[in-house]
Symmetry: C2
Subunit: 340 residues, 2 copies
């Protein structure tokens, strides 16, 4: 496995970057400022905001453009779909950062900490509305199909975030519920990203269907990896404090697997996470060890590997140009690479 950014992702940024900036330029000035900051777009006088790549990995647009190529269309035809998916992803980040109280993302202060909660809510709203605008303006019927594909993913994304918030108030969350939540919150938009390009260029239904299944498994593997990084990832990689998910007592997949393991370590972990005071650094280290001892780490790693294998099997059985298949595989391995 590799942690080097795949070529498809770099190429995608060249294609879709200017289109993303043009879309954001349509917003009213007050809101554009917040959206451009969040997306780390260059300011009007060309000054970069944040480090290169600060605007995120742009994986979803890369997948959208690849999915057009899988349906034998030139990637540039699917640019509006790629931009729309990236806008929806960033709508959800803007709002999630408020809900989760996160103060840092991609090594920069989150938008709500810079511009206030109100402006960040509005900027998120504007990106969501803009995403649908772009697809509705596209030639029918493909633009409309893509629009419905995105709308369905948005509803699942919102439902998943709702479940995630509800989990915070519960101490009896099951692994099955947690997997469902990840399916909604993360996998639905990834499935959409992997298939929307093919839909948008009017490709065959079975290609879109298989790519959606590929994307759903990639999304699940991605979430499991992200949850593992939230405990064992290095701050340089994650852009978040070390063991950040334990600090915030997030009911992530490895944590819930540990809590429901029926082991002594799981029970000790529950006691630790229910303590009213903030956890000390020693307690956080202890909590990470308990998740591992209770089998939560191994379970998540095994599950991520299995999801990645399922994803790849959908790729294998779908007819597409071999270089496109290889690039899809490269991205799938990239997003599930372990970096600790």
């Amino acid at each position: 496995m590799t942690a080097t950014i795949p070529a498809a992702v770099e190429t995608a940024r060249d294609y879709f970057g200017p289109a993303l900036a043009a879309a954001v330029n349509r917003l009213s000035p007050d809101i554009r400022e917040v959206a451009a900051y969040h997306l780390a777009l260059p300011t009007e006088d060309g000054v970069a905001q944040g480090a290169p790549g600060g605007g995120g990995k742009a994986l979803r647009p890369a997948l959208a453009l690849l999915s057009a190529r899988a349906a034998d269309a030139p990637p540039e035809r699917a640019v509006p779909a790629a931009v729309a998916v990236e806008l929806v992803h960033n709508f959800s980040l803007l709002h999630d950062d408020i809900m989760d109280g996160d103060t840092e993302r991609r090594h920069r202060p989150t938008a709500w900490t810079v511009f206030g909660v109100g402006s960040a809510i509005l900027a998120g709203d504007a990106l969501l509305a803009l995403a649908q605008d772009l697809l509705l303006e596209s030639p029918p019927p493909e633009g409309i199909w893509a629009s419905r594909c995105l709308a369905a993913a948005v509803q699942r994304l919102i439902a998943g975030q709702g479940a995630d918030l509800a989990f915070e108030r519960r101490s009896d969350v099951t692994v099955a519920e947690c997997l469902d939540m990840a399916g909604d919150k993360t996998a639905a938009l990834m499935a959409c990203a992997c298939s929307i390009g093919a839909v948008y260029v009017g490709g065959p239904a079975n290609i879109a269907k298989n790519l959606a299944a590929f994307g759903a498994y990639v999304g699940l593997a991605f979430q499991l990896t992200d949850d593992l990084l939230g405990i064992w990832g290095a701050p340089e990689t994650t852009g978040k404090p070390v063991r950040s998910d334990l600090r915030t007592r997030k009911k992530s997949l490895p944590v819930v697997a540990a809590l429901t393991s029926g082991t002594e370590a799981g029970r000790d972990l529950a006691v630790l996470l229910e303590a009213p005071d903030p956890l000390t650094e020693d307690e956080l280290l202890g909590a990470a060890d308990l998740v591992e001892t209770a089998g939560g780490k191994e379970w998540a790693e095994t599950k991520a590997d299995a999801a990645l294998a399922s994803a790849v099997s959908y790729l294998t059985e779908t007819e597409m140009p071999p270089d496109v298949r290889a690039e899809f595989e490269g991205i799938a391995e990239f997003v599930t690479a372990r970096q600790w």
Copy 2:
């Protein structure tokens, strides 16, 4: 002028009420609970939440259904469009209440005070996405036209709220900027409500165009009236504390007209509103008097009357069944009736 709810509004509620409830039922349980509370929908066992009519006046759906009738179609054909407009209106209320820190709406605690900021943000997101879902599911091409009509209104609504937030941080807002803001924040969705029914049933373009102009003027008159109520309205009518807009030092239209009047009263008002401490009841009374002395009240009343007259003139020059025209007029007068 009358303050009695027009018959068209009551009838509309019968048509679109069940469709609204059915749409909200599609949301995931955690989010549905928040949305149903905000909309004051009956709970699953049929218990009313809040007072009858607590879910708002449902003016926009009434206008949407009337607009289908203006294009000679039965109102029930435009129900999805009516529901979509009401969902967008409530998406914006849910988010605005957070941004403005409002703790009461329609005589009940606002959703964010009951369920938390995160859940209220999500519920708003879900209503916005659901609105577009309903239209995208409708038969093309009319469903798509209606969808774009709504999307354009949503972008203006968001831009208007963005301008409103930005005004809070400025002391040099002009009346022209304030009117533009009201045009975006309030009039755009009203214009959409008044025309989307005609669009949705495939009515003639000139009817949709004139009804949009009618709606834009009604929206402006409505905002002016709402701003007047925010200073001189009775709490029983507004559901807000007396002189609430002065309490929160909102840069509403009559206030900005007074501040920019070049009068001594306007200058005294500026000094009062820039004081750091919360205003006492006596100071609030004084501020209301200063707005009036500076001519802000009379300006807003004159402007509202002129907007209503412009609205009605668009109605007059549009061919439609006379009973439909009369009902449009009745609603326009209802929303601009003075209640103080």
